[in-house]
Symmetry: C2
Subunit: 308 residues, 2 copies
């Protein structure tokens, strides 16, 4: 009856429920889980080296918050697990295999990360926030290449002719895809690509921009594979005395809130990270109920501000 049946007289029900409340009775979770084999908990695993791309990324809080909200409204508990070393990765595996959770939502951006495959092997439902190298893990993906192409086309339309790019770390799928989109857009026009490597941090964007100015002082536009690097690039351009957008136009990617507060305000590809996180949770909840394993692709769009 405590579990909500309705076959007792309302008065009696009321009396018992009041007693329950007064005594502060709460069912013991461990005992319940033991027999039902359901935990009503979902692990959210963020796999990233300590110096990794997520460390200072607004992505982290956006994703974690969106995921928490969605899982909460589905009545699931969020068990957050950061896997930043081999040791903690095997800890995660053990925990998941140990039956603590009903499923796993995974954020593992590195292509070489062994965790997606390892988690898939546990047999528990796993959904990934992004494409992984494990074929059997259903995922949600942003259309990174299309977004990058959007950015470059916009620069071409603005009359830019020497368009460089600052990439993310190329062991990440999304960094490679954004580079591919940049290249594809340029290929159609016969222009050559000008590439500098970054790692998705502000500092790397600043450094890559210095590199680019040295390699090709006549460049007139830069597409940075994320906003943090674009912010770093803006600083270098200012220090080098280049005006934005008059001398050099800059486009970022992600449209984080800070993009609207740079000088000048940053044009950026809007990636709906909160929606992508929500979609991943829905995919996972579907899997737990035995639903579809089809990948989901999220669309994106260009937000034009003053830097182009």
């Amino acid at each position: 009856m405590v579990n909500g049946e309705t076959t007792v007289a309302p008065e009696i029900r009321e009396v018992v429920m009041r007693a329950v409340r007064e005594l502060g009775y709460v069912p013991n979770a461990a005992a319940r889980n033991l027999v039902t084999r359901r935990t009503h908990a979902v692990a959210v695993v963020v796999s990233d080296p300590p110096q990794g791309v997520l460390s200072d990324d607004p992505l982290f809080s956006t994703v974690v918050r969106a995921v928490s909200r969605e899982l909460e409204s589905a009545g699931k508990q969020v068990v957050l697990m950061l896997a930043e070393s081999d040791r903690s990765r095997s800890r995660v595996e053990e925990y998941v295999a140990g039956g603590h959770v009903d499923g796993v939502m995974l954020v593992a951006l590195h292509g070489a990360d062994p965790l997606p495959a390892a988690l898939a092997r546990t047999g528990l439902p796993v959904a990934s926030f992004n494409r992984t190298s494990a074929q059997d893990v259903p995922y949600v993906e942003l259309d990174n290449a299309a977004g990058a192409t959007l950015a470059v086309r916009h620069l071409l339309e603005r009359g830019r002719r020497r368009i460089a790019t600052i990439t993310g770390p190329l062991d990440l799928f999304e960094a490679r895809e954004r580079l591919d989109g940049y290249r594809a857009a340029l290929r159609d026009t016969g222009r050559r690509s000008i590439v500098a490597l970054g790692d998705f941090t502000r500092a790397s964007g600043a450094e890559a921009m210095r590199q680019l100015l040295e390699d090709d002082p006549a460049l007139d536009a830069v597409f940075a594979a994320n906003d943090l690097m674009a912010i770093g690039a803006l600083r270098t351009l200012r220090q080098a005395g280049r005006r934005v957008p008059e001398d050099v136009a800059v486009v970022g990617f992600d449209d984080i809130e800070a993009a609207a507060y740079t000088v000048p305000a940053l044009t950026s590809v809007r990636s709906p990270m909160a929606d992508q996180a929500t979609a991943t949770v829905r995919l996972l909840l579907g899997l737990i109920e035995g639903g579809s394993r089809e990948p989901v692709v999220m669309p994106n769009a260009l937000v034009i501000r003053e830097s182009t």
Copy 2:
């Protein structure tokens, strides 16, 4: 023996352990918890309205990451719970009372939040990332007033005479304390305070700065109670044609990474949020073992950049 005793011959031990590995045996967590009454999990509760101060704050990811690392190395699991409504607050209470976790680390910035007191009532160990209105919850605290005083003294030393402040939402302890520190520093000098209200977001900083310029066009310095608002204030000053720091000096608070990338780079009070988070976890782990309930105060310092 699976639990690590040493009273068997090493060869036999080896054979059994191999079998364990091959069969993929993992102890059932629910059964173990049921009998030991230890979960090896700790709830990290972030209590904040949906439009709350943490939403886009770098605080969120910094704190969550530092906490996760510290708890992981102590062998505890992190159960992240966001409490953004009364409904989810009582869900948190129930979960904690239900014996799912060994203790709670709490981030509840609003002075009127009923959750700290409610969690204390469960009898489980609770440690708070900041001072709360519940007297019986041990906490770690940043010395906010001292930090603000540091900022204002610095402005005075730079020869500024009309120093305004942009406050955080005054239902937060830290916002009030930073305002108190500002006032205390001015009081000593006989200068009057010039105050505009913000809510710790960039947008509110921009708006408050407009207000201040209208109220007192002759002001020559601003102390913003956090960096995000300082970033907003910088934008307004630029739009209004005021040079920073020549016409108006600006100091922020928190020293988030973005502070080094503003134009001009922002002078800020460094608050060691990662250390504060780590200290809170240590306080909690101590409480779980029956340790001290003494509050901990974290010191801070001024990082001087180009905006002053």
